[in-house]
Amino acid sequence: MNPVLKLLLEGGHLTTAQMAQVAGLAEAEVEQHMAQLKKDKIFLGWRPVLDLSREAAAEAAVEALIEVRITPERDGGFNRLAERISRFDEVHTCMLVSGGYDLLVIVRGSSLQKVAFFVSEKLSTIEGVLSTATHFLLRYYKDQGFLLSNDESPSQRLNVAP
């Protein structure tokens, strides 16, 4: 496996210089691996992991998970409709899943009304969308590997021990 991809998968925040030290590579080699990952469209970009349930961030955004049932099409299955839905700026994440519905869509908006408007006016009116079920997100407990209510301190070790 690409050694830089391996480090990225571990989810730590390392600079190019730090990645070079950890992987035992020259910085130029790390940059080459990064370039390859971008070229292969594996590495697409960085996003911060934010806990928006904190009071200080309360106004930032409203999120909803939407179960969407759609009609599959000949010669394309779900792809055309899924890609079409994905293009909306309000759509943060869109994935095809097995089970009782087809697409799980995460929508982000600045207010409840805006999200509701998007679902009722934009999403559910697309031809081929059979139904939607909207779940407003109340609270995250874990996001992308981060525990959001984590009060464990890694610094509980004694500084010197035998």
């Binding site: 730090q18 030290q21 950890v22 890694p154 004694l158 500084n159 010197v160 035998p162």
Partner: protein
Amino acid sequence: MQDNPSKWVAGHVASLPKSGIRDFFELVAKMKGQDVISLGVGEPDFTTPWHIREAAIYALEKGRTYYTSNLGTPELRKEISRYVTNEFGVDYRPDDQIIVTVGVSEGLDLAFRAFLNPGDKVMYHQPCYVSYHPSIALAHGEGIPVPTYAKDNFALTAEALEEAWQPGAKVLMLNLPCNPTGGTCSREQLEKIAAFARAKDLLVLSDEIYSELTFEGEHISIAALPGMAERTIFLHGFSKAFAMTGWRIGYACGPAPLVDAMMKVHQYSMMCASIIAQDAAVEALRNGADGVAHMREQYHRRRDLVIRRFNEMGLTCHSPRGSFYAFPNVAGVGMTEGEFSVGLLEKEKVAVVPGTAFGPGGRNHVRACFATGYEDLITACDRMERFIGQTGKS
């Protein structure tokens, strides 16, 4: 009060030297709140994997709050037996050849108290874990330190054993991979040590707590060599491989009459290990292999990083095949181990332990534990390099 209360302290306790690591601990404690990066720890930076912690919570929910058999719960001994057979290639019966202890430390104490008559001699390699010599003394034994050398990457050699041997030697104490040196022995070296033990009719106590953290080649237990299981107490535990230091849970395996003797001491002093820790240990052995492999991989990468950086900055350091300790020589940069440790702490806020805390053989060396996250390790190395550049004499 006229009298000195110290008069009640037993002579062999009063004469025990204070742990060398203690002074350094005090020094570091004084710098609290000053952004100190400590490479002075002796435990993993990982918290115990959640599935193991969850098993302990489940044990409490089920009301598992009682004493267990002195030897430990049958489930845990069964799991230990299976694990030791698979990982070390030695078979121990759960019923009478395994005892669960409060960490390897208790296992060691039990062994010394069960097997030493006053004045019996114990050979142990040095630099070594700080408690070996005091534990021998507390059991009224006499320690014979056997030096290991940087030129051998701190492997114990049969030649050094031959040279140090004295009449009255009864026990040989091994700790491979070794804290603090990271020293290990090859199969050939271990076979020679085994032959020496057989020739001198020694009982071997083998503390293999770092065995899962072996990065290259396989770890070989001396108990697995021909003719050795019958004269070896295999000591192991969960602290390092499963990141369970605070649980205080370990075990000892050996010939039934020897385990029975250790059990006698254990039943009258400790009774049993905590049942909650025992239940967690069962979960660790059943489902913990992936977690161990993940942590080992992380330590491996960190080892490569610090060893490369140490050597680049002028500290001679062998690459330890096991454990999470680097044991670099600081003489090359013109400092003693004390000057280096204290200077580095005061000037650059990085704590490493002077090698002499682990015996006189640790002169000119410091112990740096690499069980710390990458960012801190890299920063610590940068600070160390700056310290050497400003203070060192090459």
